[in-house]
Protein backbone atom coordinates (compact mmCIF):
# COMPACT_ATOMS: atom_id res chain seq x y z
CA UNK A 1 0.00 0.00 0.00
CA UNK A 2 1.35 3.38 -0.92
CA UNK A 3 1.54 5.69 2.05
CA UNK A 4 -1.07 8.43 1.79
CA UNK A 5 0.26 11.97 1.97
CA UNK A 6 -0.63 12.27 5.65
CA UNK A 7 0.81 8.88 6.66
CA UNK A 8 4.20 8.47 8.30
CA UNK A 9 6.98 7.18 6.08
CA UNK A 10 8.71 3.84 6.61
CA UNK A 11 11.61 5.22 8.63
CA UNK A 12 9.19 6.81 11.11
CA UNK A 13 7.23 3.57 11.37
CA UNK A 14 10.44 1.65 11.99
CA UNK A 15 11.35 4.03 14.78
CA UNK A 16 7.92 3.47 16.33
CA UNK A 17 8.42 -0.29 16.02
CA UNK A 18 11.72 0.07 17.87
CA UNK A 19 9.73 1.74 20.66
CA UNK A 20 7.38 -1.25 20.81
CA UNK A 21 4.45 0.04 18.76
CA UNK A 22 2.59 -2.98 17.36
CA UNK A 23 0.37 -0.85 15.12
CA UNK A 24 3.47 0.48 13.41
CA UNK A 25 4.60 -3.09 12.78
CA UNK A 26 1.19 -3.88 11.30
CA UNK A 27 1.46 -0.84 9.04
CA UNK A 28 4.92 -1.92 7.91
CA UNK A 29 3.56 -5.39 7.24
CA UNK A 30 0.76 -4.00 5.10
CA UNK A 31 3.24 -2.01 3.04
CA UNK A 32 5.97 -4.58 2.65
CA UNK A 33 4.64 -8.12 3.05
CA UNK A 34 3.30 -8.27 -0.51
CA UNK A 35 6.43 -7.58 -2.52
CA UNK A 36 8.48 -9.53 0.01
CA UNK A 37 6.28 -12.56 -0.66
CA UNK A 38 6.73 -12.21 -4.43
CA UNK A 39 10.47 -11.72 -4.19
CA UNK A 40 10.89 -14.69 -1.85
CA UNK A 41 8.74 -16.83 -4.12
CA UNK A 42 11.32 -16.31 -6.86
CA UNK A 43 13.85 -17.95 -4.56
CA UNK A 44 11.78 -20.65 -2.90
CA UNK A 45 8.89 -22.46 -4.57
CA UNK A 46 7.23 -23.66 -1.38
CA UNK A 47 4.47 -21.23 -0.36
CA UNK A 48 4.42 -22.52 3.22
CA UNK A 49 8.13 -21.84 3.65
CA UNK A 50 7.75 -18.40 2.06
CA UNK A 51 4.82 -17.53 4.34
CA UNK A 52 6.75 -18.62 7.39
CA UNK A 53 9.78 -16.65 6.25
CA UNK A 54 7.64 -13.53 5.77
CA UNK A 55 6.29 -13.88 9.32
CA UNK A 56 9.78 -14.52 10.66
CA UNK A 57 10.99 -11.42 8.84
CA UNK A 58 8.52 -9.18 10.62
CA UNK A 59 9.19 -10.86 13.96
CA UNK A 60 12.86 -10.09 13.34
CA UNK A 61 11.98 -6.51 12.35
CA UNK A 62 10.13 -6.29 15.68
CA UNK A 63 13.27 -7.41 17.52
CA UNK A 64 15.87 -5.66 15.46
CA UNK A 65 14.17 -2.41 14.49
CA UNK A 66 16.68 -0.49 16.57
CA UNK A 67 19.54 -1.77 14.49
CA UNK A 68 18.26 0.29 11.55
CA UNK A 69 20.73 3.11 11.18
CA UNK A 70 18.25 5.55 9.66
CA UNK A 71 20.02 5.62 6.34
CA UNK A 72 19.08 3.67 3.24
CA UNK A 73 15.77 2.29 2.13
CA UNK A 74 13.66 0.57 4.75
CA UNK A 75 12.70 -1.85 1.99
CA UNK A 76 16.35 -2.79 1.55
CA UNK A 77 16.69 -3.21 5.33
CA UNK A 78 13.64 -5.50 5.36
CA UNK A 79 14.91 -7.49 2.39
CA UNK A 80 18.28 -7.93 4.10
CA UNK A 81 16.48 -9.49 7.07
CA UNK A 82 14.01 -11.38 4.90
CA UNK A 83 16.49 -13.15 2.66
CA UNK A 84 18.39 -14.37 5.72
CA UNK A 85 15.22 -15.62 7.43
CA UNK A 86 14.44 -17.47 4.21
CA UNK A 87 17.91 -18.99 4.22
CA UNK A 88 17.45 -20.05 7.86
CA UNK A 89 14.21 -21.84 7.04
CA UNK A 90 15.70 -23.32 3.90
CA UNK A 91 18.53 -24.72 5.95
CA UNK A 92 16.12 -26.14 8.51
CA UNK A 93 13.59 -27.66 6.15
CA UNK A 94 15.98 -28.74 3.47
CA UNK A 95 13.83 -26.64 1.15
CA UNK A 96 16.81 -25.96 -1.10
CA UNK A 97 15.68 -28.95 -3.10
CA UNK A 98 12.48 -27.10 -3.87
CA UNK A 99 13.88 -24.45 -6.15
CA UNK A 100 11.29 -22.78 -8.33
CA UNK A 101 10.78 -25.08 -11.32
CA UNK A 102 11.05 -22.23 -13.80
CA UNK A 103 14.69 -21.72 -12.94
CA UNK A 104 15.60 -25.04 -14.43
CA UNK A 105 12.91 -25.32 -17.09
CA UNK A 106 11.00 -22.97 -19.36
CA UNK A 107 8.58 -20.58 -17.64
CA UNK A 108 4.98 -21.79 -17.28
CA UNK A 109 3.54 -18.37 -18.01
CA UNK A 110 5.36 -16.74 -20.87
CA UNK A 111 5.21 -13.03 -21.42
CA UNK A 112 4.89 -12.84 -25.19
CA UNK A 113 7.32 -10.89 -27.32
CA UNK A 114 4.60 -8.31 -28.07
CA UNK A 115 3.92 -7.86 -24.40
CA UNK A 116 7.58 -7.33 -23.71
CA UNK A 117 7.74 -4.75 -26.46
CA UNK A 118 4.57 -3.11 -25.14
CA UNK A 119 6.10 -3.09 -21.71
CA UNK A 120 9.03 -1.21 -23.15
CA UNK A 121 11.39 -4.13 -22.85
CA UNK A 122 14.37 -4.49 -25.06
CA UNK A 123 17.09 -6.96 -24.56
CA UNK A 124 20.15 -4.91 -24.00
CA UNK A 125 23.66 -6.21 -24.00
CA UNK A 126 23.56 -7.13 -20.33
CA UNK A 127 20.34 -9.01 -20.96
CA UNK A 128 21.93 -10.96 -23.77
CA UNK A 129 25.06 -11.59 -21.77
CA UNK A 130 23.00 -12.89 -18.83
CA UNK A 131 20.89 -15.03 -21.11
CA UNK A 132 24.11 -16.66 -22.26
CA UNK A 133 24.89 -17.82 -18.72
CA UNK A 134 23.74 -21.16 -17.43
CA UNK A 135 20.96 -21.00 -14.81
CA UNK A 136 23.45 -22.12 -12.15
CA UNK A 137 25.83 -19.25 -12.87
CA UNK A 138 22.97 -16.74 -13.01
CA UNK A 139 21.64 -17.94 -9.65
CA UNK A 140 25.10 -17.60 -8.08
CA UNK A 141 25.49 -14.05 -9.41
CA UNK A 142 21.97 -13.14 -8.30
CA UNK A 143 22.49 -14.35 -4.74
CA UNK A 144 25.83 -12.62 -4.25
CA UNK A 145 25.39 -9.44 -6.26
CA UNK A 146 21.67 -8.68 -6.12
CA UNK A 147 20.81 -10.14 -2.71
CA UNK A 148 24.11 -9.10 -1.18
CA UNK A 149 24.66 -12.49 0.41
CA UNK A 150 27.99 -13.92 1.46
CA UNK A 151 29.14 -17.02 -0.39
CA UNK A 152 28.26 -19.15 2.65
CA UNK A 153 24.70 -17.77 2.77
CA UNK A 154 24.29 -18.14 -0.98
CA UNK A 155 25.46 -21.73 -0.70
CA UNK A 156 22.57 -22.54 1.67
CA UNK A 157 20.04 -20.78 -0.53
CA UNK A 158 21.22 -22.55 -3.65
CA UNK A 159 21.78 -25.90 -1.97
CA UNK A 160 25.39 -26.27 -3.08
CA UNK A 161 28.79 -26.10 -1.39
CA UNK A 162 30.35 -22.75 -0.57
CA UNK A 163 33.30 -23.44 -2.86
CA UNK A 164 30.89 -24.15 -5.69
CA UNK A 165 29.29 -20.73 -5.24
CA UNK A 166 32.73 -19.10 -5.34
CA UNK A 167 33.78 -20.86 -8.50
CA UNK A 168 30.41 -20.25 -10.17
CA UNK A 169 30.60 -16.54 -9.38
CA UNK A 170 34.10 -16.46 -10.77
CA UNK A 171 33.08 -18.22 -13.96
CA UNK A 172 29.99 -16.04 -14.31
CA UNK A 173 32.03 -12.86 -14.00
CA UNK A 174 34.48 -14.11 -16.63
CA UNK A 175 31.66 -15.09 -18.97
CA UNK A 176 29.89 -11.74 -18.51
CA UNK A 177 33.11 -9.81 -19.10
CA UNK A 178 33.80 -11.80 -22.24
CA UNK A 179 30.22 -11.45 -23.51
CA UNK A 180 30.12 -7.71 -22.88
CA UNK A 181 33.49 -7.24 -24.57
CA UNK A 182 32.67 -9.31 -27.62
CA UNK A 183 28.99 -8.84 -28.39
CA UNK A 184 28.63 -6.01 -30.87
CA UNK A 185 26.42 -3.31 -29.41
CA UNK A 186 24.18 -1.17 -31.64
CA UNK A 187 26.51 1.75 -30.99
CA UNK A 188 29.54 -0.23 -32.07
CA UNK A 189 27.76 -1.31 -35.22
CA UNK A 190 27.17 2.32 -36.05
CA UNK A 191 30.88 2.96 -35.65
CA UNK A 192 31.72 -0.09 -37.66
CA UNK A 193 34.06 -2.80 -36.48
CA UNK A 194 37.71 -2.05 -36.86
Amino acid sequence: MTPEPGEPDDAVLLRDVARGDEDALAALYDRHAGWLTVRMTRRCARPDVVDHAVQDTFLAVWREARSYRGSGDVAAFIWGIGIRRLIDLTRRDGAARHRPPWRAAEPQVVVSAEDQVLAGLEHGRLGQALAGLSPELRAAIEATVLDGLTCAEAAVLLGVAEGTVKSRCHRARQALRAALAESPSPARKAWGTP
Binding site: M1, Y29, T37, T41, E142
Partner: protein, 284 residues
Protein backbone atom coordinates in the same frame (compact mmCIF):
# COMPACT_ATOMS: atom_id res chain seq x y z
CA UNK B 1 18.56 -0.51 -17.37
CA UNK B 2 16.15 2.31 -16.81
CA UNK B 3 14.89 2.04 -20.42
CA UNK B 4 12.86 -0.97 -19.27
CA UNK B 5 10.77 1.31 -17.14
CA UNK B 6 9.22 3.64 -19.69
CA UNK B 7 7.48 6.13 -17.41
CA UNK B 8 10.04 5.79 -14.64
CA UNK B 9 7.95 2.95 -13.19
CA UNK B 10 7.66 -0.73 -13.96
CA UNK B 11 4.74 -1.64 -16.20
CA UNK B 12 1.87 -3.69 -14.77
CA UNK B 13 2.37 -6.44 -17.36
CA UNK B 14 6.02 -6.54 -16.44
CA UNK B 15 5.27 -6.86 -12.73
CA UNK B 16 2.69 -9.57 -13.39
CA UNK B 17 5.27 -11.42 -15.48
CA UNK B 18 7.83 -11.08 -12.73
CA UNK B 19 5.41 -12.33 -10.08
CA UNK B 20 4.60 -15.34 -12.28
CA UNK B 21 8.28 -16.06 -12.82
CA UNK B 22 7.95 -15.39 -16.53
CA UNK B 23 10.52 -12.68 -17.18
CA UNK B 24 14.17 -13.27 -17.95
CA UNK B 25 16.81 -12.87 -15.34
CA UNK B 26 18.09 -9.46 -16.39
CA UNK B 27 14.57 -8.03 -16.27
CA UNK B 28 13.88 -9.66 -12.93
CA UNK B 29 17.03 -8.14 -11.49
CA UNK B 30 16.13 -4.70 -12.80
CA UNK B 31 12.69 -5.01 -11.24
CA UNK B 32 14.11 -6.10 -7.89
CA UNK B 33 16.62 -3.29 -7.81
CA UNK B 34 13.96 -0.78 -8.78
CA UNK B 35 11.29 -2.06 -6.42
CA UNK B 36 13.62 -1.74 -3.43
CA UNK B 37 13.73 1.98 -4.04
CA UNK B 38 10.29 2.76 -5.52
CA UNK B 39 7.21 2.92 -3.29
CA UNK B 40 4.77 3.06 -6.21
CA UNK B 41 6.11 -0.08 -7.86
CA UNK B 42 6.33 -1.87 -4.50
CA UNK B 43 2.63 -1.42 -3.94
CA UNK B 44 1.86 -2.36 -7.54
CA UNK B 45 3.88 -5.54 -7.06
CA UNK B 46 2.21 -6.26 -3.71
CA UNK B 47 -1.13 -6.19 -5.54
CA UNK B 48 0.02 -9.32 -7.39
CA UNK B 49 -0.20 -11.38 -4.18
CA UNK B 50 -3.45 -12.93 -3.02
CA UNK B 51 -4.86 -10.55 -0.40
CA UNK B 52 -6.30 -13.46 1.59
CA UNK B 53 -2.88 -15.04 1.90
CA UNK B 54 -1.39 -11.80 3.19
CA UNK B 55 -4.24 -11.38 5.68
CA UNK B 56 -3.76 -14.94 6.94
CA UNK B 57 -0.08 -14.38 7.43
CA UNK B 58 -0.84 -11.14 9.18
CA UNK B 59 -3.01 -12.88 11.77
CA UNK B 60 -0.41 -15.61 12.33
CA UNK B 61 2.13 -12.87 12.81
CA UNK B 62 -0.10 -11.28 15.46
CA UNK B 63 -0.52 -14.59 17.24
CA UNK B 64 3.19 -15.31 17.19
CA UNK B 65 3.98 -11.83 18.39
CA UNK B 66 1.46 -12.01 21.23
CA UNK B 67 2.77 -15.40 22.30
CA UNK B 68 6.31 -14.07 22.48
CA UNK B 69 7.47 -16.21 19.60
CA UNK B 70 11.00 -15.28 18.67
CA UNK B 71 10.63 -16.61 15.16
CA UNK B 72 13.52 -18.95 15.65
CA UNK B 73 12.31 -22.07 17.39
CA UNK B 74 10.50 -25.06 16.02
CA UNK B 75 10.52 -27.90 18.49
CA UNK B 76 9.90 -31.50 17.51
CA UNK B 77 9.00 -30.29 14.04
CA UNK B 78 5.94 -28.44 15.36
CA UNK B 79 5.67 -24.70 14.71
CA UNK B 80 6.38 -22.84 17.90
CA UNK B 81 3.13 -20.84 17.92
CA UNK B 82 1.06 -24.03 17.74
CA UNK B 83 2.98 -25.44 20.70
CA UNK B 84 2.39 -22.28 22.64
CA UNK B 85 -1.35 -22.38 21.95
CA UNK B 86 -1.35 -25.99 23.09
CA UNK B 87 0.59 -25.11 26.21
CA UNK B 88 -2.00 -22.43 26.97
CA UNK B 89 -4.69 -25.13 27.21
CA UNK B 90 -6.03 -24.75 30.77
CA UNK B 91 -6.43 -28.48 31.36
CA UNK B 92 -2.76 -29.08 30.64
CA UNK B 93 -1.58 -26.75 33.37
CA UNK B 94 -0.12 -27.97 36.60
CA UNK B 95 -2.81 -26.44 38.81
CA UNK B 96 -5.48 -28.24 36.83
CA UNK B 97 -3.69 -31.57 37.06
CA UNK B 98 -3.21 -31.10 40.79
CA UNK B 99 -6.94 -30.63 41.27
CA UNK B 100 -7.62 -33.73 39.18
CA UNK B 101 -5.27 -35.70 41.40
CA UNK B 102 -6.94 -34.20 44.48
CA UNK B 103 -10.45 -35.20 43.42
CA UNK B 104 -9.26 -38.68 42.53
CA UNK B 105 -7.56 -39.05 45.91
CA UNK B 106 -10.82 -38.20 47.68
CA UNK B 107 -12.99 -40.66 45.76
CA UNK B 108 -10.34 -43.38 45.87
CA UNK B 109 -9.90 -42.90 49.60
CA UNK B 110 -13.63 -43.05 50.03
CA UNK B 111 -13.85 -46.35 48.15
CA UNK B 112 -10.95 -47.83 50.10
CA UNK B 113 -12.43 -46.74 53.43
CA UNK B 114 -15.88 -48.00 52.53
CA UNK B 115 -14.45 -51.38 51.76
CA UNK B 116 -12.21 -51.86 54.76
CA UNK B 117 -14.60 -50.34 57.30
CA UNK B 118 -17.02 -53.08 56.25
CA UNK B 119 -14.31 -55.60 57.01
CA UNK B 120 -13.57 -56.85 53.56
CA UNK B 121 -15.83 -57.56 50.62
CA UNK B 122 -19.24 -58.74 51.79
CA UNK B 123 -19.85 -60.62 48.59
CA UNK B 124 -20.52 -58.74 45.37
CA UNK B 125 -22.80 -55.79 45.54
CA UNK B 126 -21.78 -53.86 48.65
CA UNK B 127 -18.23 -53.40 47.36
CA UNK B 128 -19.67 -52.36 44.01
CA UNK B 129 -21.71 -49.65 45.71
CA UNK B 130 -18.54 -48.32 47.33
CA UNK B 131 -17.17 -47.79 43.83
CA UNK B 132 -20.04 -45.53 42.73
CA UNK B 133 -18.34 -42.19 43.53
CA UNK B 134 -15.20 -43.28 41.72
CA UNK B 135 -17.20 -44.52 38.73
CA UNK B 136 -19.08 -41.23 38.67
CA UNK B 137 -16.07 -38.99 38.92
CA UNK B 138 -13.36 -40.61 36.81
CA UNK B 139 -14.75 -40.06 33.30
CA UNK B 140 -16.16 -36.70 34.39
CA UNK B 141 -12.62 -35.55 35.20
CA UNK B 142 -11.55 -36.44 31.68
CA UNK B 143 -14.65 -34.68 30.34
CA UNK B 144 -13.88 -31.56 32.39
CA UNK B 145 -10.36 -31.50 31.00
CA UNK B 146 -11.63 -31.72 27.45
CA UNK B 147 -14.38 -29.19 28.09
CA UNK B 148 -11.90 -26.72 29.52
CA UNK B 149 -9.95 -27.15 26.33
CA UNK B 150 -12.85 -25.76 24.34
CA UNK B 151 -14.48 -23.25 26.65
CA UNK B 152 -13.42 -19.76 25.75
CA UNK B 153 -13.88 -18.25 29.19
CA UNK B 154 -11.44 -20.68 30.82
CA UNK B 155 -8.81 -19.90 28.29
CA UNK B 156 -6.70 -16.75 28.45
CA UNK B 157 -5.38 -17.52 24.98
CA UNK B 158 -8.78 -17.87 23.38
CA UNK B 159 -8.63 -14.51 21.64
CA UNK B 160 -5.43 -15.67 20.05
CA UNK B 161 -7.04 -18.96 19.18
CA UNK B 162 -9.85 -17.05 17.56
CA UNK B 163 -7.30 -15.04 15.57
CA UNK B 164 -5.39 -18.13 14.56
CA UNK B 165 -5.58 -19.12 10.94
CA UNK B 166 -5.55 -22.86 11.37
CA UNK B 167 -8.90 -24.51 11.69
CA UNK B 168 -10.49 -24.30 15.09
CA UNK B 169 -11.49 -27.91 14.67
CA UNK B 170 -7.90 -29.11 14.30
CA UNK B 171 -6.80 -27.15 17.31
CA UNK B 172 -9.80 -28.39 19.31
CA UNK B 173 -9.03 -32.01 18.47
CA UNK B 174 -5.35 -31.62 19.32
CA UNK B 175 -6.17 -29.94 22.60
CA UNK B 176 -8.97 -32.35 23.52
CA UNK B 177 -6.85 -35.39 22.77
CA UNK B 178 -3.93 -34.13 24.80
CA UNK B 179 -6.24 -33.12 27.67
CA UNK B 180 -7.87 -36.55 27.62
CA UNK B 181 -4.54 -38.37 27.48
CA UNK B 182 -3.20 -36.35 30.37
CA UNK B 183 -6.34 -36.87 32.48
CA UNK B 184 -6.41 -40.60 31.85
CA UNK B 185 -3.02 -41.14 33.50
CA UNK B 186 -4.08 -40.19 37.06
CA UNK B 187 -7.46 -41.87 36.53
CA UNK B 188 -5.81 -45.15 35.58
CA UNK B 189 -3.36 -44.86 38.50
CA UNK B 190 -6.21 -44.24 40.94
CA UNK B 191 -8.14 -47.19 39.50
CA UNK B 192 -5.27 -49.44 40.58
CA UNK B 193 -5.64 -48.22 44.16
CA UNK B 194 -9.39 -48.60 44.24
CA UNK B 195 -10.56 -51.94 45.60
CA UNK B 196 -12.19 -53.44 42.57
CA UNK B 197 -11.65 -55.85 39.73
CA UNK B 198 -8.16 -55.91 38.26
CA UNK B 199 -9.39 -54.79 34.84
CA UNK B 200 -10.77 -51.54 36.28
CA UNK B 201 -7.88 -49.24 35.18
CA UNK B 202 -8.29 -50.22 31.54
CA UNK B 203 -12.08 -50.18 31.71
CA UNK B 204 -12.29 -46.39 32.02
CA UNK B 205 -10.64 -45.63 28.71
CA UNK B 206 -13.53 -46.38 26.37
CA UNK B 207 -16.30 -44.78 28.50
CA UNK B 208 -14.17 -41.66 29.00
CA UNK B 209 -13.49 -41.45 25.28
CA UNK B 210 -17.19 -41.90 24.56
CA UNK B 211 -18.27 -39.19 27.02
CA UNK B 212 -15.69 -36.74 25.63
CA UNK B 213 -16.59 -37.53 22.04
CA UNK B 214 -20.24 -37.05 22.91
CA UNK B 215 -19.44 -33.60 24.29
CA UNK B 216 -17.45 -32.69 21.16
CA UNK B 217 -20.26 -33.91 18.93
CA UNK B 218 -22.77 -31.91 20.97
CA UNK B 219 -20.64 -28.80 20.48
CA UNK B 220 -21.57 -28.91 16.80
CA UNK B 221 -25.21 -28.49 17.84
CA UNK B 222 -25.33 -26.44 21.06
CA UNK B 223 -23.00 -24.13 22.97
CA UNK B 224 -19.87 -25.48 24.68
CA UNK B 225 -21.26 -25.30 28.23
CA UNK B 226 -24.53 -27.06 27.33
CA UNK B 227 -22.61 -29.69 25.38
CA UNK B 228 -20.30 -30.52 28.28
CA UNK B 229 -23.18 -30.52 30.75
CA UNK B 230 -25.28 -32.81 28.56
CA UNK B 231 -22.49 -35.33 28.07
CA UNK B 232 -21.74 -35.29 31.78
CA UNK B 233 -25.43 -35.74 32.60
CA UNK B 234 -25.68 -38.79 30.36
CA UNK B 235 -22.83 -40.45 32.25
CA UNK B 236 -24.14 -39.51 35.70
CA UNK B 237 -27.59 -40.75 34.81
CA UNK B 238 -26.25 -44.08 33.54
CA UNK B 239 -24.15 -44.65 36.68
CA UNK B 240 -26.93 -43.62 39.08
CA UNK B 241 -29.53 -45.78 37.33
CA UNK B 242 -27.25 -48.82 37.49
CA UNK B 243 -26.35 -48.03 41.09
CA UNK B 244 -30.05 -47.92 41.82
CA UNK B 245 -30.23 -51.42 40.37
CA UNK B 246 -27.25 -52.38 42.59
CA UNK B 247 -25.08 -53.09 39.54
CA UNK B 248 -22.93 -49.95 39.16
CA UNK B 249 -19.96 -51.81 37.72
CA UNK B 250 -22.05 -52.80 34.70
CA UNK B 251 -21.35 -49.35 33.31
CA UNK B 252 -17.74 -50.31 32.68
CA UNK B 253 -18.33 -54.01 32.09
CA UNK B 254 -19.05 -55.75 28.84
CA UNK B 255 -22.46 -54.17 28.12
CA UNK B 256 -21.25 -50.76 29.22
CA UNK B 257 -18.19 -51.03 27.01
CA UNK B 258 -20.34 -52.01 24.03
CA UNK B 259 -22.65 -49.04 24.56
CA UNK B 260 -19.63 -46.76 25.01
CA UNK B 261 -18.14 -48.02 21.75
CA UNK B 262 -21.44 -47.36 20.00
CA UNK B 263 -21.66 -43.84 21.41
CA UNK B 264 -18.04 -43.20 20.45
CA UNK B 265 -18.62 -44.31 16.87
CA UNK B 266 -21.82 -42.29 16.56
CA UNK B 267 -20.18 -39.19 18.03
CA UNK B 268 -17.19 -39.59 15.74
CA UNK B 269 -19.53 -39.81 12.76
CA UNK B 270 -21.38 -36.67 13.84
CA UNK B 271 -18.04 -34.88 14.35
CA UNK B 272 -16.84 -35.98 10.95
CA UNK B 273 -20.02 -34.83 9.21
CA UNK B 274 -20.44 -31.58 11.09
CA UNK B 275 -16.84 -30.57 11.81
CA UNK B 276 -17.23 -27.46 9.69
CA UNK B 277 -19.64 -26.23 12.39
CA UNK B 278 -16.73 -26.05 14.79
CA UNK B 279 -15.08 -23.16 13.13
CA UNK B 280 -13.81 -20.25 15.06
CA UNK B 281 -17.20 -18.57 15.06
CA UNK B 282 -18.57 -20.29 18.11
CA UNK B 283 -15.50 -19.53 20.14
CA UNK B 284 -16.20 -15.83 20.14
Amino acid sequence: MTEHFSSGHADRVLLAGYAAGAVDEATAWSIEAHVTACTTCRSALSAQVDAGRLARNRSVLHVRLALGDTGRTRRWGIPDHLLRLLAATPSLRRSWLLSVVGVLAVVTGEAVLARYSLGGPVRGNPSQQALVPFLLVAPLLALAGVAAAFMPWFDPAYRLVAAAPFSGFTLLLVRATSALAVAMVPVACAAFAVPGPSWLPAAFLLPSLAVCALALAAVTVVGPLAAAAAAGAVWVLAVLLLAGAHLPLTVVQWHGQAVAAGVLLAAAAVLFLRHDRIELGWMR
